[in-house]
């Protein structure tokens, strides 16, 4: 396909996005139903044009069309097909196009599944979505055109950064963008509601599925990025507190808070003003993340190229949308009617606590990420805020969240019974103490925090089940009745419990890995062996191998424990010939939930090779837990009452104002 078609489709997309910003909004203002309806058509057309543009770029990559500058700079004809496709978004221009594609797809989904939305709200939502698309299409066309031609075309491309030549590039960015950009919908709903100056529990019901979808994708995207960094970078670390990781974690915290506060709003008509603010914040933090990653103000593995004009452009977009939406919020929020009264100890109260701690964590990450930038702008000092800062602040804020998590679902709406909830958690608490004791016994003398953390993680996992067991009535009613009730429970109850259990599983992995991991760095000759974490590794041979566009030096290790052979691990140093750039292909052997991790260093002058080996107990639980969280989100989403575009608006719960209770906010 001709790259000009892609470019032309992109220009048309811009025109469509402009129309989509103006026409439905005008229709909503004047009450013209026909104009409001145009929004849906435009959203579908926009998705079509952006899709065509993106497809053209993919084709240019697959065919290795070296007349396109972007392809020349980031591809190579010897690259395997998968990496030629994924290479499309393994660079600044392509990844921005993917960003806009996801945005257009979400707008199209609103158009398709939003048939039951009030016409005015839907029109405004699409208009806001159109304005975001307009801004980013302008950005692409003016500063980052992926279709720029080179004349004459070179014979060969410069290849993709080898670190990105991995299956991870096919998974991590699309998932992450589905999460990041998914929050644009909740943002659009929030802004649309503010424009109308009217908001009710039904609004939360429409927003929740979108927030949940975005959150689940973001969870998966972050987890997959973490696993990718873990096996690709060869340092055995799964989280570096790199600014770019932080950029994805901030919207995650805000999004997590949002999906919880939206529940309060839907069920109890409370926390409205706060929920709208969170919807704005979640997407603002996503935009901030995009800015930090794409502008080059921070350097990381994600920074492809630095071009000051791009940074300024994204900063302008950032200021316009964040500033604009917050200004609108300041103007309109006081008009929103407050509703729903509750006591401090209640389900609502627990969710407020959750929200406070999550947003505080998000703010702590924000401060740590931006402080170096601010300080450099202020007095030129170059500093870094390292992992100790983030571990301390986020850790201290997340501990109470984990501890309070099992209590929340056991508290009743409006006014809860803390002692009763504690009583129902006795079994979980007992199990947690047993596990903590086991952990303490297993580690002998070691960090005291480890058994405590394990106990806490177990408490979260088992406590997550408590709500389900409680609601089914096990122990109070005959078993058959309880099973029947269990089947009758809404899926969102299971979804919530599963997601909470996922947090516990993830926490278990984090604590086990951090407290008990073993590291060994050694120079090893062929035939030599070393020990790590109770395993004995012998370097059997070092052999060169050839791949399609690289050469490997593979070290083959035999793993033994107590003299018994357990298998082999192959770890390689890979040299990509096009860029003459080496990467580490770590060798990983998974044993249950634990991993033995080996990466090769340089060949040593005296023969042999430098080896870095790790024993990582329960490390896979970190990602398995994250996947469980996302599955919990998906399960909730499959609940009929929550399905995207749920048929009926929520019936206003009949709330008799409790004279003793306090207002929500």
């Amino acid at each position: 396909m001709n790259p000009e078609i892609g470019h032309y489709a992109l220009v048309l997309s811009l025109a469509v996005a402009l129309l989509m910003t103006v026409i439905p909004a005008w229709g909503a203002r004047t009450g013209d139903a026909a104009l409001m309806r145009v929004g849906s058509t435009l959203a579908l057309v926009l998705a079509g044009f952006v899709g065509l543009s993106f497809a053209t770029l993919v084709v240019a990559y697959v065919q290795s069309d070296f007349s396109v500058l972007n392809v020349v700079e980031n591809s190579h004809s010897a690259k395997p097909l998968l990496y030629r496709i994924t290479g499309t978004w393994g660079n600044h221009e392509g990844s921005m196009l993917l960003w806009v594609l996801v945005l257009a797809i979400f707008a199209a989904l609103v158009a398709l599944f939003g048939a039951n939305l009030p016409a005015r709200l839907k029109a405004n939502v699409l208009a806001v979505q159109g304005s975001v698309a307009t801004a980013f299409l302008l950005f692409i066309l003016f500063t980052s055109n992926p279709f720029t031609r080179v004349i004459p075309p070179p014979a060969e491309g410069q290849d993709l950064n080898p670190i990105l030549q991995d299956i991870g590039l096919a998974i991590h960015p699309p998932l992450l963008y589905l999460g990041y950009v998914g929050f644009s919908i909740t943002f659009a709903f929030a802004v649309a509601a503010l424009i109308e100056g009217r908001i009710d529990a039904a609004w939360a019901r429409w927003v929740r599925p979108w927030a949940l979808t975005a959150w689940a994708f973001l969870t998966l995207g972050i987890a997959m990025g973490s696993y990718w960094a873990y096996y690709e970078l060869g340092w055995g670390g799964w989280w570096f507190w790199d600014p770019v990781e932080n950029a994805s974690l901030m919207p995650w915290f805000a999004g997590t808070a949002l999906i919880h506060s939206a529940v309060v709003m839907e069920k109890r008509d409370a926390l409205k003003v706060w929920t709208v603010l969170l919807a704005i914040l979640a997407f603002s933090l996503s935009l901030l993340g995009t800015f930090l990653v794409r502008s080059g103000v921070l350097t990381s593995v994600h920074t492809f190229a630095t071009d000051p004009s791009r940074g300024v452009f994204i900063l302008a977009i950032l200021v316009f949308f964040i500033g604009g939406s917050l200004a609108l919020y300041a103007l309109r929020a006081p008009m929103l009617r407050q509703g729903g009264l509750f006591a401090p100890v209640s389900r609502e109260g627990a969710l407020v606590l959750n929200n406070l701690l999550l947003t505080a964590a998000s703010a702590a990450v924000l401060v740590g990420t931006l402080y170096p930038l601010a300080l450099e702008a202020y007095n030129g000092a170059k500093i870094t805020v390292g992992p100790p800062y983030f571990n301390l602040t986020v850790g201290a804020l997340m501990l109470p969240v984990a501890f309070a998590m099992p209590f929340g679902p056991l508290l009743a709406w409006k006014r809860g019974d803390l002692a009763g909830a504690a009583q129902r958690l006795m079994a979980a608490f007992g199990a947690a103490i047993v596990i903590a004791a086991l952990a303490a016994y297993a580690q002998g003398g070691g960090p005291v925090l480890a058994p405590f953390g394990m106990g806490l993680a177990a408490f979260v996992v088992i406590g997550a089940m408590a709500e389900v067991i409680e609601r089914a009535g096990f122990g109070r009613v005959p078993r058959a009745t309880a099973f029947a009730r269990l089947r009758g429970l809404p899926r969102s109850v299971f979804g919530g419990a599963l997601a909470h259990a996922g947090v516990g599983v993830c926490l278990f992995g984090i604590i086990a890995e951090t407290s008990w991991n073993a590291e060994r760095i050694a120079g090893v000759k062929v035939g030599g062996s070393f020990e790590v974490g109770g395993y004995e590794l012998t370097l059997d041979r070092l052999e060169p191998r050839n791949g399609p566009n690289y050469r490997d030096l593979v070290g083959v290790f035999t793993v033994r424990r107590g003299g018994v052979e357990m298998g082999t691990i192959e770890s390689a140093k890979r040299l990509f010939t096009a860029r003459n750039m080496p990467t580490t292909e770590s060798g990983i052997r998974t044993m249950w939930f634990s991993q033995l991790y080996v990466s090769l260093g340089d060949e040593l002058p005296g023969g042999g090779v430098g080896v870095r080996a790790y024993w990582k107990p329960f490390v896979t639980l970190i990602w398995i837990g994250s996947i469980i969280m996302a599955l919990g989100g998906a399960l909730s989403l499959s609940d009929r009452r929550l399905r995207v575009g749920a048929p009926k608006p929520a019936k206003k719960p009949k709330v008799r104002p409790d004279p003793a209770a306090v207002p929500a906010e």
Partner: protein, 148 residues
Amino acid sequence: MTRKGRRLLVISCAAGVLFVAAGLVLFALNDTIVFFRSPSEIAAEGTRPGTRLRLGGLVKDGSVQHTDGTHVRFVVTDGGADMGVTYVGLLPDLFREGQGVIAEGVLAPDGSFTADSVLAKHDETYMPKEVADALKKQGVWKEGEGTP
């Protein structure tokens, strides 16, 4: 408790959480920030031994010595001054003589630098921003010249 009293309770709880969080942030920031320095800056400022720093510059040509399997010595230069670095561990993939590097660690009393982590670039054509700035200051490298 009155309606007002309860509201006060909720607000004071929220304020308490935020206060603790803010305190935590300030305390942690105070303790954990690490400054970036080039060898010339260290020479000029007479930085105290024991200070934790990020040292950045170019790996001096011909300076890398592997003493045994995992002990490495090399010299970081910014054109104005040199600084010897010792490091135990494996060097990153793109660590090369004549190219940009950042070493994080502690200044030893003998004036050398003991690194506990060494970062090189992620990409062949990319120079860590702090290093690029430090080199520009020493006039070794100018924007648009390509990496030295």
